[in-house]
Amino acid sequence: MIRITFACPAAHIPDANQLARVIGLSPDDDQTYGEPRFQDEGGNLYAVASGLVEPSFITTATSPLVEPEWGADMDAAQRAQALAALGEPAAPDHIAAVVGDDVNEALAFLGLMPVPDDPSGGQSV
């Protein structure tokens, strides 16, 4: 398997989750992109997902989409697919993906850093 790290602009998270639902392994893959807790130098926000996938994933993700047996919003998935950009830094107008085992290196390539912690949130005290 190979590791792919994705950077999805905040505005495209719903569509990207529908794409994940279509090309993923189960309907639960529509939870792939959560809160946008990474940002680029310009302060644009992104949800990041990183995981192991089969080598065939890239071909699947760039081929014409087939609605899964569990259903999906295919219009949303196709909008997200049209924004996919393999091997490019993160930007607000596309969903960037980079292949590589080291997540830190992937984030550096994407040009992303975590949004600073909110000291009032969670258990950060």
Partner: protein
């Protein structure tokens, strides 16, 4: 050991009287599966979507989203662990009812990779530390002087962190003992690292007590939008404080799995 037998020790002893809790053992490949449904056996270098609870309580932990599963790995010494990527990897149990106890023992074998400026939750049962009955271990917490941290919620948060010589990458057996109803803050939150009770803290908040722990999930590697980056070799949670040689036995067991000498 004052007549208590430390070896041989088996973690199942901790749950032999029906104590509530979890025991996750990544070194036991038969207890893990690549998918959340438990149909594809675990294999090195592959994601883990389900880890079975070996405590006998049936509190299995899973991850339904395929890219958010930790990876089963083996280190150079042959020790087996779950690798969490710090981006989205996490496992969550079903509901664990700890509402009938005011006692808690947590032991984790961890190798942390995040060092500073990042909240890195090893194990959490609820998203806010001030909620009554919350408990959590961090490696590290939000700032550089909180290399390891412990939290217990009593309505206001009991929180302790330690500093110094523990920057990532760092491997440790991190333990928490708590009697959450106690009026003594040292009993509400007793942090241990590599078998030693910690007494010098970079942060020390003496919160409040509450009557019992919670009915909630056990979340491994995640708290809200924060994720743990590193390895987990072993994890034990029990809703009862250790007696006799249990603590030494359990910590030595986790240390052996983790490659730490106590």
């Amino acid at each position: 050991m004052s007549g208590y037998q430390v070896w041989p020790f088996h973690p199942s002893i901790l749950f032999s009287s029906g104590e509530q809790g979890v025991w996750y053992d990544p070194s036991d490949l038969s207890s893990m599966f690549q998918d959340a449904a438990g149909t594809i056996p675990a294999a090195y270098g592959q994601p883990v979507g389900l880890i079975l609870d070996k405590s006998g309580n049936g509190n299995h932990a899973s991850q339904a989203t395929s890219t958010a599963r930790p990876t089963l790995m083996q280190d150079v010494d042959g020790r087996i662990y779950l690798s969490f990527d710090g981006v989205d990897d996490a496992l969550t149990s079903g509901i664990v009812d700890l509402s009938s106890t005011d006692e808690m023992l947590v032991i984790a074998g961890v190798h942390k990779l995040n060092s500073v400026g990042v909240i890195s939750p090893v194990i959490v049962n609820v998203a806010s530390g001030s909620i009554p009955g919350a408990f959590a271990l961090y490696a590290p917490n939000s700032s550089g002087n909180r290399q390891y941290a412990w939290s217990v919620g009593g309505g206001s948060q009991n929180f302790r962190a330690v500093d110094g010589g523990l920057a990532a990458p760092h491997t440790a057996v991190q333990s928490l003992l708590s009697k959450i109803s106690s009026a003594d803050p040292d009993a509400r939150i007793t942090p241990r690292l590599n078998g030693i009770t910690q007494t010098a803290f970079s942060t020390n908040l003496k919160g409040s007590a509450t009557s019992a722990f919670r009915v909630d999930t056990i979340r491994i590697g995640v708290q809200g939008t924060y994720y743990f980056k590193g390895r987990i070799y072993s994890l034990i949670v029990r809703g009862k404080l250790p007696a006799g040689g249990e603590l030494a036995g359990a910590e030595h067991h986790v240390a052996q799995k983790t490659g730490v000498t106590l």
